[in-house]
């Protein structure tokens, strides 16, 4: 580059040099932006929000919370203090014996409500219980009945000792849910002020409440007293395995391969 008058062709070379410098600057800029851009892009994976092992652990240990009557032969009455694992064990044994799932509709509704209340609202929970003792594992219980059809699912499993001594495996699958627009917010957009004063599942727009406007307790479901089940039976403290499914086609277990979406 020259600020003087010349009689040669070097003036053109200075312009060419500046263009080369500009191109190099663009290349450096591109490298820097491509390096840092993944840090500012909204998250598309939900893995950090999914913890199916923790949800399954607290779900199976929690009491169902309401008295439920089960109209079977020698009817049972659950007084609400039984843990979910015990209730599932009773149900899968009855279902394996040929009982109708309609008998357990109230209990299943409660378990489904529990799953939904514990799960992050960006996920839809599915609980599948497999019977492992009879050849090829087969699903005995599915809550809800429809399949989890998403590809990006996260799951955890654990063994449930059945009342009849047969092993069952419970699998909790978290499938990304189709959400209304107000709930489709990035974690990066999370405003903690919305969180102060309201539980986690009430962060969504139009779904907040404060201490002076507490949520209403779920209505109790009263049932007839027809029998009694041992409420002291506690499910094992140990969650057997924790797994995540990226692209699940089959589910590996110690004994066999169980299809996640049978």
């Amino acid at each position: 580059m020259s600020g003087r008058l010349r009689k040669d062709r070097r003036g053109q070379l200075a312009l060419m040099d500046s263009m080369v410098f500009f191109a190099a600057a663009l290349a450096v800029c591109g490298v820097l932006v491509s390096y840092a851009r993944p840090l500012v892009e909204p998250r598309t994976d939900l893995q950090g929000d999914a913890d199916p092992a923790e949800i399954l652990r607290v779900l199976l240990r929690a009491s169902i919370g309401r008295p439920v009557s089960i109209d079977l032969e020698g009817s049972h009455r659950l007084d609400g203090t039984e843990d979910v694992a015990t209730c599932i064990a009773v149900e899968v044994r009855a279902l394996s014996s040929g009982a109708s799932q309609m008998v357990f509709s109230t209990l299943n509704a409660i378990i489904l409500e529990m799953m939904n209340s514990l799960c992050n609202p960006v996920f839809e929970p599915f609980l599948i219980v497999y019977d492992l003792h009879d050849g090829l594992p087969s699903p005995v219980l599915k809550l809800p009945h429809e399949e989890a059809d998403s590809e990006n699912r996260y799951a955890s499993s654990t063994d449930i000792p059945g009342d009849d001594g047969n092993p069952y495996k419970a699998i909790l699958i978290l499938s990304p849910a189709a959400l209304p627009e107000p709930l489709q917010v990035s974690i990066r957009d999370f405003d903690p002020l919305l969180c102060v004063g309201c539980p986690a599942r009430h962060i969504g727009e139009g779904d907040n409440y404060h201490d002076d406007d507490p949520p209403k307790r779920q209505p109790d479901i009263r049932s007839d007293v027809r029998g009694e089940i041992d409420s002291r039976k506690r499910w094992s403290d140990d969650i057997e395995s924790v797994d995540e499914i990226g692209e699940p086609a089959v589910w590996d277990t110690d004994s066999s391969r169980i299809p996640v979406t049978p």
């Binding site: 580059m1 020259s2 600020g3 003087r4 008058l5 010349r6 009689k7 040669d8 062709r9 070097r10 003036g11 053109q12 200075a14 312009l15 500046s18 263009m19 410098f21 500009f22 190099a24 600057a25 663009l26 450096v28 800029c29 820097l32 932006v33 390096y35 840092a36 840090l39 500012v40 923790e54 949800i55 652990r57 607290v58 779900l59 240990r61 929690a62 009491s63 919370g65 309401r66 609400g80 203090t81 843990d83 209340s117 514990l118 999370f190 405003d191 903690p192 002020l193 969180c195 102060v196 004063g197 539980p199 986690a200 599942r201 009430h202 507490p214 949520p215 307790r217 779920q218 403290d237």
Partner: protein
């Protein structure tokens, strides 16, 4: 102002050269500043995440230390935890909010700290953990320990 037909010279040649050089320098500096700020924000987020996780773990460990042979803590014991004491590791470098919430069968606050509404944070990170606890009727309920650090 030309001496021959071979090229542009002097001041009129310098203007486009100066424009290219200044624009190139500006682009590089802007990209560098943006990248630096982004990385710093990410480092801050990682630090806040670690603090939030640590805060939740402290609450859980404090809860487990008071079990006294029981399988689960009681809701009453959780409600009387001294959360301000547990938050001492985060303060005063950052501000935080800790809450213990019953998730099932009821959705209700058990305890939270601080009581006042916090000011608007620029960047905040939360962590939570689900626990089982005995309520007043000896039912096993599900509670959530949640910490937000900013």
């Amino acid at each position: 102002m030309k001496a021959d037909c071979d090229g542009v010279a002097g001041f009129f040649e310098d203007l486009p050269v100066l424009m290219f050089v200044l624009t190139g320098v500006f682009i590089v500096v802007a990209a560098g500043v943006w990248t630096s700020n982004t990385l710093e924000a990410q480092r801050m987020r990682d630090r806040l995440e670690a603090l939030a996780e640590g805060l939740v773990n402290e609450v859980v460990l404090e809860t487990e230390a008071r079990l006294g042979g029981e399988s689960f803590p009681t809701v009453s014991a959780l409600s009387h935890l001294n959360l301000s004491h547990l938050a001492g590791g985060v303060l005063p470098a950052h501000r935080c909010s800790i809450a213990i919430i019953e998730r099932y069968p009821e959705a209700r606050w058990l305890v939270h700290w601080p009581d006042e509404t916090p000011d608007s944070p620029i960047q905040a990170v939360g962590a939570s953990r689900l626990l089982n606890a005995f309520d007043e009727h000896l039912m096993v309920v599900v509670v959530e320990v949640r910490a937000i650090v900013w």
